[in-house]
């Protein structure tokens, strides 16, 4: 029986993670921008009655779209794992890699699970008191945009790692782009304060400009992760399963292990 080529590729784990990353971000974009239409976000200045209308106009979209995230949202871990791996390949302490991993792993709950739960709760029981519905609406959007510190510190950690790295796993310009991305988390802070205007969670500065920077940043790192995998050289040595049984893949595992 012939095995598919991917399974014999020494980089198969990296490619799987990379394609899963692509799949995740595609799903994310489709769900947030098309199915649920929660991006661009609803208006921060909506009255309770308008919030009722907002939920009514996308009832099915919210429930189906966020249902998809409930099923596959955990794939976000693949990009985090790839980035952690990239930091492990750099000539810096493992502290950077582990800090990045744990920060982004934790950020998933307030960063995107909360909005999914809030919008699902808001949509699934029509006829709720409009004031309560607006409370849910605020919870959804503010937890999503307003989870700031994890991405701020996470980007800075990645930046420092890239700038210190002597293996040139990532180009320095991307290190600086991390700083730009971290600063967007500063710029989004006023959305906790304003209901209207450019600094509200749907405002020109707090949302539109930030989302452009974040989009460029995400696109850049997905592209650069691909380059990293392409450049990765595992050689043509024997796969671990061909090592003597007592080795049990340990040699390689230890070499690669934290």
């Amino acid at each position: 029986m012939r095995r598919p080529a991917l399974l014999d590729d020494p980089k198969r784990e990296l490619w799987l993670a990379w394609y899963a990353t692509i799949a995740f971000y595609t799903l994310y974009t489709v769900v947030f921008f098309i199915i649920t239409r929660t991006q661009p976000p609803g208006k921060a200045w909506y009255t309770p009655t308008q919030v009722v209308g907002w939920f009514a106009s996308r009832h099915e979209g919210l429930l189906i779209g966020f249902g998809l995230i409930f099923i596959l949202g955990g794939l976000s871990a693949t990009s985090i794992a790839l980035i952690t791996y990239s930091i492990r390949r750099m000539s810096v302490s493992r502290v950077f890699a582990y800090s990045y991993l744990i920060i982004y792993a934790v950020s998933a709950v307030p960063g995107f699970l909360f909005i999914c739960v809030a919008m699902t709760v808001g949509a699934f029981r029509p006829g709720r008191d409009p004031e309560i519905l607006r409370w849910i609406y605020d919870l959804g959007f503010l937890s999503f945009s307003g989870t700031m510190g994890v991405f701020l510190i996470g980007s800075l950690i990645w930046m420092v790692a890239i700038l210190l790295d002597k293996n040139r796993v990532f180009p320095a310009w991307f290190g600086y782009l991390n700083l730009c991305n971290a600063l967007t988390e500063v710029v989004v802070a006023p959305s906790w304060i304003f209901h209207t205007g450019v600094f509200a969670w749907n405002g020109v500065i707090a949302w539109w400009i930030n989302v452009v920077v974040f989009g460029l940043y995400t696109g850049a790192f997905i592209f650069l992760l691909r380059n990293m995998i392409l450049r990765e050289d595992f050689g043509t040595g024997p796969l671990p399963d061909l090592l003597p049984p007592e080795g049990r893949g340990r040699m390689l595992a230890e070499f690669m292990s934290p």
């Binding site: 180009p171 320095a172 310009w173 290190g175 600086y176 782009l177 700083l179 730009c180 600063l183 500063v186 710029v187 006023p190 304060i193 304003f194 205007g197 450019v198 600094f199 020109v204 500065i205 400009i209 452009v212 920077v213």
Partner: protein
């Protein structure tokens, strides 16, 4: 023109027209971040034209001379770090270190002036949420000051590079200086837009 003068020419000696100060990567940052700032400025200018009176009224509470003083202080720190780069390139590390300290000193002075200005405005009742003009004023000045604070970290790196013979790397010195200059010219733009534009 003496020979010494040529040696300290701002253009580095090894291939003059091949040298990108600090390398290309930091320029990516400078240009990208200027785009982000330009975007903020555009939003500000557009809203300004829509509510002209509110902005003019808010602006009348600023002290222009203080803004000018802050600008000159920051320009001077920029001058100091530019000299620092040239002295480091010429191997005059003592002078270079002195100028790095001077840069940080003027940067700190700018920060002190900025804090005095904020405190004065807040005491007069002008806060982040008090009017549309002051929303932009505090947003732009604070985000600029965050860049400045990062700049102090960058100057720390610069100092660390200069203080030990083994570590001295001219590209890193140039990267640090390029960052600091970009903080300077962001302020030049912010100053013109917040204090002078009518």
């Amino acid at each position: 023109m003496t020979t010494t003068e040529r040696a300290v020419s701002p253009v580095p000696e090894q291939s003059p027209s091949e040298h990108v100060p600090g390398g290309r990567d930091i320029w990516f940052f400078v240009l990208f971040e200027s785009l982000a700032f330009t975007a903020y400025f555009c939003v500000y200018l557009f809203n300004r034209t829509q509510h002209e009176q509110v902005f003019l009224l808010g602006q009348s509470h600023l002290l222009l001379w203080l803004g000018v003083l802050e600008t000159i202080v920051l320009l001077t720190s920029s001058w100091a770090v530019a000299s620092c780069v040239q002295d480091a390139r010429a191997g005059r590390y003592d002078a270079s270190k002195r100028e790095a300290l001077l840069t940080a000193g003027f940067g700190a002075l700018f920060l002190v002036l900025k804090v005095i200005e904020w405190v004065r405005l807040i005491h007069a009742g002008h806060t982040f949420t008090s009017s549309e003009f002051f929303q932009y004023f505090f947003f732009l000045t604070v985000i600029h000051c965050i860049h400045l604070l990062i700049g102090f970290v960058v100057l720390g790196v610069l100092w660390y590079q200069l203080s030990d013979q083994k570590r001295r790397s001219q590209p890193t010195v140039e990267i640090c200086a390029t960052y600091w200059h970009s903080v300077d010219f962001f302020w030049v733009l912010i100053f013109a837009l917040l204090y002078v534009v009518r």
